[in-house]
Assembly symmetry: C2
Homo-oligomer: 348 residues x 2
């Protein structure tokens, strides 16, 4: 059986209507709603075909139809239109990303903003700094037998670590270590700090090889704290708007997953090749890589702050979410982010 254009139109109409109402939609509704002027009976015939194709089902005899996961998939892949959103600056919700100093705050703000404008739950993972360059490394003596290492990465991301070195060293030694380390490491990407370089530095450090070793450990662990990237979430309460999610354990499970955050980070992190511009991906129902969200759909995208500093955002809603609006909202937010960030960088 072929999917002719009328069947597509009907499927489209069913999905759009179900998105709004959350109720199974019947043949009469479609007949009145859609611009193709055919009788309910005709629609019924077509719907029977669509059901046979596995694109829609009846929750029970004598109910209207609702889309299946497969139906949504087809919708997302082929039927969905590129919706043009009003520029955020002109829309009534004034959902505009403000420039803030700290990346952390910006991401939190982004999560909130997306939650507000999509009216779904959102998550934003903190950026991974892979590919980032070491800009500056500063050691300072900190009391007895301790050193403070301040590590500055490209893009002015700052990390600290205080660690034991087990012995007191003089200020001059610290100074020369600083010099040594900066000379050898500055400008390198973190992956580039390999054994060869480490050995070389140790040789030059002579008697202080041990300390160098500890410093490098400290650097690794300071960076390493971002191995499990932070996840910011917002709009959890929006889950309650959708009866299909708020009933039973589902809501509880979802809220809990959003709260724990670890699972989210892991699930979002797994794929990281950039296909197109923002790498927008749609996961429907069972496709969602988080167990507790198998009743949801999740739309993810990749953002980029500065070159190589990337993270993921995700919008979590019911399967009948308004994919078109979500996608265009994401795009809009991304372009705001681009503007802000290019500008912010440009100013430096």
């Amino acid at each position: 059986m072929e999917l002719d254009s009328r069947k597509k139109a009907i499927l489209y109409a069913i999905i759009r209507n179900y998105q709004e109402t959350g109720e199974p939609v019947g043949s009469r509704t479609i007949s009145k709603l859609s611009e193709l002027s055919v009788s309910p009976a005709t629609i019924r015939n077509e719907m029977a075909d669509l059901e046979e194709l596995g694109l829609i089902i009846q929750p029970h005899t004598s109910a209207g139809r609702i889309p299946t996961d497969k139906g949504y998939r087809l919708y997302v892949d082929e039927l969905m239109k590129d919706q043009k959103l009003l520029p955020a600056s002109m829309s009534d919700q004034t959902a505009i990303l403000k420039r803030v100093d700290r990346v952390e705050e910006l991401l939190m703000q982004m999560a909130k903003l997306l939650a507000k404008s999509t009216r779904y739950a959102t998550m934003v993972t903190g950026p991974t700094y892979s590919g980032n360059k070491l800009k500056y490394l500063q050691l300072s003596p900190m009391g007895t037998g301790k050193l403070l290492a301040v590590i500055v990465l490209d893009g002015n991301i700052i990390k600290n670590n205080i660690f034991d070195i087990g012995e007191d060293i003089s200020d001059e030694t610290v100074l020369s270590l600083n010099l040594l380390l900066n000379n050898n490491l500055n400008g390198l990407r973190l992956e580039e700090i390999n054994l060869g370089i480490i050995t070389k530095i140790k040789e030059e450090a002579g008697a202080y090889a041990d300390i160098v070793s500890k410093v490098l450990d400290a650097v690794a662990s300071a960076i390493g704290t971002d191995e499990k990237p932070k996840v910011y979430t917002s709009g959890a309460r929006n889950i309650f708007q959708y009866p299909e999610l708020s009933g039973g354990d589902t809501a509880s499970e979802i809220i809990s997953t959003l709260e724990e955050k670890e699972d989210l980070g892991a699930a979002l992190a797994d794929v990281h090749e950039l296909t197109d511009k923002h790498d927008i991906q749609v996961y429907i129902g069972d496709e969602v890589p988080v167990d507790s969200m198998k009743d949801c759909s999740v739309v993810t995208a990749t953002y980029e702050l500065t070159s190589g500093v990337r993270g993921k955002i995700g919008i979590i809603g019911p399967k009948r979410m308004d994919y078109e609006r979500v996608v265009s909202t994401i795009k809009d937010t991304m372009s705001q982010l681009d503007t802000i960030f290019k500008k912010e960088n440009g100013e430096e």
Copy 2:
């Protein structure tokens, strides 16, 4: 009418029973349950009195009684017994605080632990650093016209700030500024850095007074980011266990408040005088200073990491929460925290 000891016993029994079941409790139940051996009829007479005193009510005729807010208040103030909890190390839930490096992680862990062992929702505010001393201040040139300030407080709390100074300065100047600032500021509490000291430093800085001024601004703003202290929450899902909270909008409101966190921080922050050891306070129903939680009870306590570094924790549950268990769990956790922290400090 007086509250004789039998009435108290009955009230106690009603509250304890209602805590377990969540169902209105009738005279028969009390008669069987409580050790005072009187007939249901007698209990009924007493219950009528308790109702007249406003300590319990009937949800409707021919239902059992449930405690009123006033009833709970009396319970908490007078009836509640000090429950001795098994030491956490011996209990089955192995809810033991582990020592971790970063304060942030420790607090998050504490929120989770409390949520797990009380089975209610929890919140933990980040510490306020008032009273903390400046241990070390480090300026480093950072590209053109920028300085990196690293601020270390007592207890090895580290803050960063990168800021513009509008002009290039030589490494030597930075070095001497470092010296100047450290000589004048180290060991001071943050409130002690007043105009007098600032003026003095500026005078000594001579031509670099402007820069000093900017550095101090940077210090202030780095510290200032904690004016709205961070709030960590956990166990939101526990709300769903209690029908009186999970129905209607209540759950949604609570979850949303927990997620937003700002309101929580504000509400917890308002009182900060330490009355007794941990300053445990119980807010029942309308007493709770957060609107969305008027149907809940909240138990708060103050923790102290190092001297003067204090924050609050809060346990959020239904009004019929097990106050005794919550209080003893808090005490237990606090003493764990003390142990860890004294030790951690001792090691330094």
